[in-house]
Symmetry: C2
Subunit: 114 residues, 2 copies
Amino acid sequence: MKKTDAVAALAALAQDNRLDVFRLLVEAGPQGMPAGAVATALDLAPNTLTFHFDRLRTAGLVTVRRDGRSMIYAAQFETMNSLLGYLTDNCCGGAPCAPAVECKPARKRTKIPA
Amino acid sequence: MKKTDAVAALAALAQDNRLDVFRLLVEAGPQGMPAGAVATALDLAPNTLTFHFDRLRTAGLVTVRRDGRSMIYAAQFETMNSLLGYLTDNCCGGAPCAPAVECKPARKRTKIPA
DNA sequence: CGGTCATTTCGATATTCATTGAAATATGAA
DNA sequence: TTCATATTTCAATGAATATCGAAATGACCG
């Protein structure tokens, strides 16, 4: 992971509502959940939520796919794992530290269809 | 870790220079390094660096101790680990994911003396 | 004490960011 | 086509942020 990407991901997560959104999606797992459900769960205005989704998506932390009139957002676990790895990179000069986390959902689904 | 703390830590890391500073300190390990050395290594103005150190310190990501006229900054690994844990918390509903990283430096030194 | 080094504080500035309200787009149903 | 639902776009506003220059503090040395 490049520094630019790490900063983008961190900035995307460094905001109350967005952190809530992301953690909700992490909890929801790879099948994700519709924007409206997130809006309801977190009590956010739909346009505000779109703004935050955009930032998360630009940072590569979530993906979208359309299902009817709903937009289904899902966490992108690979990016999250890369970020965690980046932060602990070469910890303590490389000597005595346990390395990277991994959150690896069992069933995978990386679709971005119409 | 509380949400407030997580946001603070993420915000502290979500900036080019600060991310560099933090990773430099992570690499330096628990004994830390003087502010001046960081300034030299990253080519930052000393006042700018103070600003960034302050944000990292407020977020609990670094500690300071004085050594003569130098200020020695060191990464606070516990906070980093808590943050990593917070991000992966209850991943995928708790089911099939490998849990939290840990960066545990061998020799510990949590001093904040005069 | 006077001088110097290391770091911090202060004030100003330009930029970025989150939120809101109103209007637009897209899908699906009658 | 007309209506309703789901989400996005746009423009405006107030708040927070990073950086800079100049000056101040604190610590050590003669």
